[in-house]
């Protein structure tokens, strides 16, 4: 296993995606499961690369032998590999079912393309490739969001496409502005020219990119697509989008703010303000929403608002808080979304009595989301509030609002639990299907494992955070000693 294997994280799923329709013509089931098998290889590869990185033997990869800052560089560090792991494992747990409308294996192909794009986005060492992979993720998410055989789904996906495409255009404009400012798009090279971004043009570029890429990160005010799309798509895809794809967009914003805009105060305050407004609007709307799917959609807007605020927290501990919040949300939200089909409308009443295991899982996820100790959600919130308290000033207002938001979260989540445990439900079939129950159990098991391994996990997060804010080290690694890959 050498450092060159990094590129396999992108190439393997791409290759699989192109191969799958061909296999699918012969045997649809074989295509479906070989896709899953391929996907299952990726986390193992990511863990191997992580071990290499810990040993110090994983330098940035320059593709085709063209060195930075002109060539394409892949930068596998702890953050990228964490997100690669999260994306591949999450996609595996949310792998589509073999559906009679989907004889060509379209869903499986799209998932592999999404994974390829997401891995590329996480590993990208320059802004343009980040954008390319971001677009790949975006296009596949439009297609996945169009729920098979549902008119609502197609309409919602179309609106999603238009709005997100406009956002991508804004993002591209921002990238173009950055190029005019500095003449380069390589992250390390841009970090060297970071002083240029403390100007009106630089800040405009930031605003454009934040609004543009913030569409996927459910940023206020460009998140009005969220309730509609999450409401119309399948529960797996809603979980995938809310839990995992949003973190990819956050990663891009994170790279921008730590490498390029770390000295620009306005950037931090912009993220703080947008995050705060997102938190307030998301949680209040969630309290008012009537069905589980929309409640969870608004709730994820609120939670992502907290994470966007955490982006602007100064220091290493702030980064740890952001990573803890992001990883926790990544596990809990898809788990909750898996209930949104079964616990719906008239079948909500008594659902937890018909399916007791489902009730326990939902309770577990709800308690962790609210932040009840000793579950991981509590520790993530504790870290965030502690750092906010240390930062002082307007952050104190943010703390008061987060604490109030927690009360609202309890109210809206336990409303559903109350009805699910009511004794006046209709007798008969179980609430959520065995498929959704299995997936939710997997997410629940991940949460419990996270709880049991809390201390080692925190150490890992601290190491990751230290790497993230260490910009000089990033520059040194990329521009000084890249690895050549012969074509």
């Amino acid at each position: 296993m050498t450092a060159e294997a990094t590129v396999l994280l992108i190439v393997l799923p791409l290759f699989g995606a192109f191969l799958l329709p061909t296999i699918g013509r012969i045997n649809a089931s074989a295509a479906h499961w070989s896709g899953a098998l391929l996907l299952a290889l990726l986390p193992l590869l990511a863990i191997e690369l992580w071990n290499l990185h810990s040993a110090g033997a994983l330098p940035p990869l320059a593709l085709g032998g063209y060195l930075a800052p002109l060539g394409i560089v892949l930068y596998p560090d702890r953050l990228s590999l964490t997100l690669v792991l999260a994306l591949t494992l999450g996609s595996l747990l949310l792998w589509p079912r073999l559906h009679q409308n989907d004889a060509t294996g379209r869903q499986a192909t799209l998932m592999l393309l999404l994974v390829a794009g997401g891995n590329g986005l996480a590993l990208a060492g320059d802004l343009f490739n980040a954008f390319v992979f971001y677009e790949l993720v975006a296009v596949t998410s439009y297609a996945l969001a169009a729920k098979l055989g549902s008119g609502d789904g197609y309409a919602a996906a179309l609106r999603f496409l238009i709005l997100s495409a406009l956002g991508s255009a804004l993002g591209l404009l921002g990238i173009a502005l950055i190029y005019t400012l500095t003449g380069t798009l390589n992250f390390a090279h841009l970090a060297q020219h970071a002083a240029a971004f403390n100007s009106p043009l630089g800040i405009t570029a930031f605003v454009l990119m934040v609004l543009g890429f913030g569409v996927k990160a459910e940023l206020f005010p460009v998140n009005s697509w969220v309730p509609e799309v999450y409401g119309a798509t399948s529960h797996r895809i809603a979980g995938l989008l809310a839990g995992i794809v949003s973190k990819l967009a956050l990663l891009l914003l994170l790279r921008l703010i730590t490498l390029l805009y770390s000295d620009v105060e306005v950037a931090g305050w912009l993220l703080f303000t947008l995050g705060l407004l997102g938190l307030i609007s998301g949680e209040l709307a969630a309290w008012r929403a009537t069905d589980l799917r929309h409640t969870l959609a608004y709730s994820s807007i609120g939670q992502l608002g907290v994470m966007v605020m955490a982006l602007s927290l100064p220091g290493e501990s702030g980064m740890v808080a952001l990573l803890a919040l992001a990883l926790h949300h990544l596990v809990v939200k898809p788990g909750l979304f898996l209930f949104s089909d079964g616990w719906h409308g008239t079948s909500l009443a008594g659902a937890a009595r018909r399916g007791p295991w489902g009730g326990v899982l939902f309770l577990l996820f709800a308690l962790s989301l609210i932040g009840v100790p000793p579950l991981p959600g509590f520790w993530a919130k504790l870290l965030f509030i502690r750092e906010a308290l240390a930062a002082g000033g307007p952050w104190l207002l943010a703390i008061a609002i987060i604490l109030t938001a927690t009360v609202l979260e309890t109210a809206y989540l336990f409303r559903f639990l109350r009805r699910a445990y009511s004794r006046h439900g209709s007798a008969g079939y179980g609430a959520i299907g065995p498929d959704a129950a299995l997936r939710a159990s997997a997410f629940g098991a991940t949460l419990v494992v996270g709880l049991l391994l809390l201390n080692p996990l925190t150490e890992l997060l601290q190491q990751t955070a230290a790497e993230i804010i260490d910009t000089p080290s990033y520059i040194a690694r990329v521009l000084d000693v890249p690895v050549e890959v012969t074509p």
């Binding site: 454009l208 998301g282 209040l284 608004y298 809390l454």
Partner: protein
């Protein structure tokens, strides 16, 4: 493994047993035995905790770099003893005939044991972070106990949950403030934080702690959730909740305010432009907590709600005594916690017995049950004498101590407030017993029998404990000594019958002796006098007509009509209005947020950003 670890292991085993085998009928008895065992263990622990000692658990964790440790001192020990005592009798009550026909037996046993485990962990917390974690465990187990019955109980429990989470968030903020100022989550950091915080910061800290713990205690203005939630919990659960559950808030508040911060700091915090300071503010909040809920109890027509509202009111006495800070006051307040637990549990259990036999606790639909359920009557009689604070029951002793402490400390107005509360209590408990047991027996209750022994023995035992500790308060005061020493306050010199101070004394041995003697003399005269001829209640006539059971001659509805005519206009429902106003503002905010998402102006923002960018470029 020391005694504390053994105790915690036992209580965890109890919970596991309830979880795994709770459906099996005999498990209830097994659990009751386990509670008794834990109580015995705790009594043994009490000997080592005298003189301000503490027991450190060997279970030490470090999470995220924060140490989590369990330490039991005398103060926690007292509350633990009361918890296990009430759990023992509640479990006993609920193990026999009560749960024989019920389908939610496992939920009943599991929620009770979960609560006991969580409370023991809370009482043994060794630092602020552990306090918070166990506090949340207690809140959530309390929610489970209130909610498992479903229906309206679950709705009331949900309301409780909102309050509880709001309190927990205030508590979290207070904790993080202490950590920021004091450097860590250890108890000693609170003292450091108090010195480094300015006056405004200290007020904020106090208010946050007060909100956090006051919600659980149902101190004004956080009291609206408790009565409904406790009243609708079935049977033994309600007894347990009413007796000891909200005392956890008292434990935590007193731990922080008296032991960690210190009452002298509270007295030094003055409210500008008034003569009040933080200590007297707390005392006055306690005083209003005595008066307002007690008079709300007066108007209740459901027996359980009446008792639950009294529960809120009696907390005021405990807080009042402890906040005064003198040996007598603190002893009175702590003794009131124990006394209240015994008679409130007895009262709730006797009301549960009435519900078990008649199916209702509505005071307008009962009456005359003394002839059918004499044991329940005796329990309720002793309970209400205790609740009203009259001899020979233990409630009298603790209330006497609180009154005396108030007067000794030069607080006549607070004393008057406490007396007004007692007046309201006496009035409403008489209504309780009159409407339930006295008066005319209804036709539909003619066939009612006494409850089985499995239910009447525990409630009589609790009443008996109340009587014995009322006759010989020295027994209970020895236990209070352990707690007072742990708080760092000098103990009250006492003897078996009470105490004697330089400016007054109380000797219950003489008081109860005189009372029993006079009852004896009265009985002698009664029974040795003229022959008695027993007749049926309805073998009588009034207004020229013979009585018949189809008519109601029993005055019970709108019992205090005359009094209500006078003080009715004073019931304004201000707190309910405030609560509803808060909910309405959140609704408005929610509607605004939802409207924000409906009116999708996303494109507009993007176009605006685009225009701005182009303008800057060109």
């Amino acid at each position: 493994m020391n005694s504390l670890d053994l105790l915690l292991l036992l209580t965890t085993l109890t919970t596991l047993l309830a979880l795994l085998m709770g459906r099996w009928r005999p498990v209830g008895w097994l659990l009751t035995l386990l509670y008794a065992l834990q109580l015995a263990l705790l009594a043994d622990l009490g000997l080592t905790l005298q003189g301000g000692g503490q027991v450190v658990s060997q279970l030490q964790l470090t999470l995220l770099g924060y140490p989590i440790g369990l330490v039991l001192d005398g103060f926690g020990w007292l509350f633990a003893a009361i918890t296990l005592l009430i759990a023992l009798f509640s479990s006993w009550f609920g193990s026999g005939a009560w749960s024989a026909e019920r389908s939610d037996r496992r939920a009943q046993h599991l929620t009770l044991s979960l609560n006991v485990t969580a409370m023991l962990l809370l009482l043994a917390s060794g630092d602020l972070l552990t306090l918070f974690i166990t506090w949340e465990l207690v809140s959530w187990s309390g929610f489970a106990l209130m909610a498992y019955a479903g229906g309206r109980a679950a709705d009331a429990a949900l309301r409780y949950l909102i309050y509880a989470i709001a309190g927990a968030m205030a508590l979290l903020a207070a904790l993080l403030l202490v950590e920021q100022q004091g450097g860590s989550f250890q108890f000693a950091a609170v003292a450091t934080a108090v010195t480094t915080l300015d006056s405004a910061g200290l007020w904020l800290l106090l208010l946050l702690f007060f909100t956090g713990f006051g919600v659980k205690m149902a101190l004004l203005p956080f009291h609206l959730w408790q009565a409904e939630a406790y009243a609708l919990t079935p049977g033994p659960g309600a007894a347990f909740l009413g007796a000891i559950s909200s005392r956890m808030g008292l434990f935590a508040l007193m731990l922080v305010v008296v032991k960690l911060i210190g009452l002298e700091h509270l007295a030094a915090l003055a409210i500008p432009y008034t003569f009040l300071d933080a200590q007297s503010l707390l005392a006055w909040i306690a005083a209003f907590t005595i008066i307002i809920p007690t008079f709300i109890a007066l108007t209740q027509s459901d027996a359980r709600r009446l008792l639950a509202w009294h529960g809120i009111g009696q907390t005021g006495y405990m807080v009042l005594g402890i906040v005064i800070g003198t040996e007598l006051g603190v002893a009175g307040g702590l003794l009131h916690v124990f006394n209240y637990a015994t008679y409130q549990a007895a009262l709730f259990l006797s009301v549960s017995a009435v519900i078990y036999r008649t199916g209702t606790a509505d005071l307008d639909r009962l009456g005359g049950l003394i002839t059918r359920m004499p044991l329940a009557y005796v329990t309720m009689l002793m309970g209400i004498i205790g609740l009203a604070g009259l001899p020979p029951m233990n409630g009298f002793v603790s209330k006497w101590m609180v009154y005396k402490a108030l007067l000794d400390n030069g607080q006549p107005l607070l004393f008057v407030a406490a007396i007004i509360g007692t007046l309201g209590t006496i009035l409403s408990v008489y209504k309780l017993i009159h409407n339930t047991f006295l008066g005319q027996l209804r036709a539909e209750h003619q066939a009612v029998r006494e409850v089985p022994w499995s239910m009447s023995v525990p409630m009589l035992a609790l009443a008996a404990i109340g009587f014995i500790t009322g006759w010989m308060p020295g027994l209970a005061l020895s236990a209070i000594d352990v707690a007072q020493q742990a708080l760092g306050i000098a103990t009250l010199p006492h003897h078996l019958g009470g105490f004697s101070l330089s400016n007054g004394n109380l000797d219950m041995l003489w008081v109860v002796g005189a009372l029993l003697a006079s009852i004896g003399i009265g009985a002698l005269i009664f029974f040795a006098g003229n022959r008695r001829h027993l007749t049926h209640q309805l073998d009588n006539y009034a207004g020229g007509h013979f009585l018949s059971s189809s008519h109601r001659y029993h005055y019970s509805h709108n019992f205090y009509a005359g009094l209500m005519h006078l003080i009715g206009p004073w019931y304004r429902g201000t707190f309910r209005w405030l609560e509803q106003a808060l909910i309405n503002s959140v609704e408005v905010g929610g509607n605004a947020a939802l409207g924000l998402f409906r009116n999708s102006a996303m494109l507009l923002y993007m176009v605006a950003a685009l225009t701005l960018a182009l303008w800057l470029l060109l």
